[in-house]
Amino acid sequence: MSFDLRQGETIGIVGESGSGKSVTSTAILGLIPSPPGKIERGSIVFEGKDLTKLSQDEMRKIRGNEISMIFQDPMTSLNPVFTVGNQIIEVIRLHQQVNKKEARTRAIEMLKLVGIPEPEKRLEQYPHEFSGGMRQRVMIAIALACNPKLLIADEPTTALDVTVQAQILELMKKLQVDLKTSIIMITHDLGVVWESCQKVLVMYAGNTVEYANVEDLYQNPLHPYTWGLLDSQIKSDTVGKLPSIPGNPPDLRNEIAGCYFAPRCAYAQEKCFTERPPLVEVSLEHMVACHFQTADHRLKREGGEASE
């Protein structure tokens, strides 16, 4: 897979569970546990530096400082034995040469920024005294405390209820404008992508199947897997059974010769099972990996049907 991101831009990475979204993000931060994980080849270039070639010490200076991450579950992402303030102050002092008082002032500023009322008092409280949405705000405050240039948000709203989700997305959007942070938004919720991203990357079984601008993908999706994802969303006119993509993602421990999606694809032909389609640019800045969706050949999309 391959993608690039400019300052202040947001890219969405979508795909169903197990398609390698989170692995991508942990790889960027160099947090893949090894063994067994290992970056075999490829490069991650951040501001001209190849992150895969940096030492652990150099990586540590980047983590939390230039690249931060927000995790999925705010209920378990905060250390239960420390006050919230402690945890914000810790990351500030880890990366910046400031004394405790300055760090505290900055922490209060951050809590104010993410919309937590009475930040001076909340600073002294423990995570269990915060609600889920408030905790995610704290996580965002921690992640942004050192003004990172890149923020990786790994399903930041999945564990929250819908009203809070909207607030958090709104907050992230606002902060992005203020701080000029680039965001990698990992999600399986296409609604989140339409809301907040400029570019979107659809992943399937660890590979990119489609990569385009958000408008382009919304108006003119090309890969059958993307169609499946779009069809399986609840829309205002959805009646009866929700369409779904039949089958499960492949087991990547087995050698698969053809297209990873072929066994579940309604349009698959013989070629799909024997030859892997390359990711090609079919129209301006729109890449697709499908044998039958090319510059001069198109599939006719059929409406998604509910399947057992």
């Binding site: 540590r60 200076k61 983590r63 991450m69 209920m75 992402s77 990351v91 880890l94």
Partner: protein, 299 residues
């Protein structure tokens, strides 16, 4: 805990009242527990006895008075009678408290510190470090404690410091195991991953994030094992390997008392009672502490 927290609206909570609520609730639960309170009182009495021993003791603990040896409790101002050298038993038991507490606390402190450190390293790094450290601990565990102490005493000689050393070493593997198990669970928590993603290095993660989350079982285990260390010290002194005469120790008083069990049973009885009560105190307190720190926890 997290479910409860979810239900509390973050803004409406009276903030002043919630401050330090964690510490408060542990204390409250501890004080509500009658048995833990008994344990606490026993420990408090022991501490008072050892700190103010010179004021509380009615006689110098080592002053012999052979004319009055083996006198009955209550005779001639000897509250608990005298031993075979005519030394005041009450005063000796008071001074013995000092030895028991010092050995109990320092030995567990020593074993706890080294054991915790080893457990942290084994659990956090895993792999070959884990294998090496834990097999060493298994080896230490398999070694009978008394044999280990005899070996150490033979090499180093008897004495208070060496007693602490021997009991401390014997306590290392227990701590290492408990801590390692705890670390294995805590290091998989998401907040550890978060900390790593924020650029913390290994030592910071281990000592600032994992260790505080392992403290509850360590504290409970340590408290309970002070009782064990007190028994161990008594056992070593009983065998003549511990604190050397004439210094008073409950174990050595018991040993002297054993020879006069038929003639004057009060020596063995009172020193044994002191051991029993102190062990009971630490066990009750440890039990209560465990319940208070985490009702679901099992040690």
């Amino acid at each position: 805990m997290s479910n409860q927290a979810q239900n509390i609206s973050p803004v409406s909570v009276p903030l002043a009242a919630k401050k330090k609520s964690k510490e408060n609730s542990v204390w409250r639960r501890l004080l509500k527990n009658k048995l833990a309170l008994v344990g606490m009182i026993i420990i408090a009495i022991m501490v008072i006895f050892s700190v103010f021993a010179p004021l509380i003791a009615t006689h110098p603990p080592n002053a012999m008075d052979l004319a009055n040896s083996l006198s009955e409790p209550g005779v001639d101002g000897h509250i608990l009678g005298t031993d075979n050298y005519g030394r005041d038993l009450f005063s000796r038991i008071i001074y013995g408290t000092q030895i028991s507490l010092i050995v109990g606390i320092f030995a567990i402190g020593l074993g706890g510190m080294i054991g915790t450190l080893l457990g942290l390293v084994a659990g956090y790094y895993g792999g070959k470090w884990d294998a090496i450290i834990m097999r060493l601990m298994d080896g230490l565990f398999a070694f009978p404690f008394i044999l280990l102490s005899i070996a150490l005493m033979t090499v180093l000689g008897a004495g208070l410091f060496n007693v602490i050393l021997a009991i401390g070493v014997a306590n290392i593997p227990g701590f290492a195991r408990i801590v390692r198990g705890q670390v294995l669970a805590v290091k998989e928590e998401e907040y550890i991953e978060v900390t790593r993603s924020l650029g913390a290095n290994h030592s910071r993660i281990i000592f600032h994030h994992i260790l505080p989350n392992c403290m509850a079982p360590i504290i409970v285990y340590a408290t309970m094992n002070v009782a064990g260390a007190i028994i161990s010290e008594a056992a070593l002194s009983f065998l003549g390997l511990g604190v050397q005469p004439p210094t008073a120790s409950w174990g050595s008083i018991l040993k002297d008392g054993k020879d006069f069990l038929v003639l004057s049973p009060h020596m063995a009885t009172f020193s044994g009672l002191a051991i029993l009560l102190s062990v009971l105190g630490f066990n009750l307190f440890g039990d209560g502490l465990r319940d208070a720190l985490d009702p679901k926890m099992k040690v």
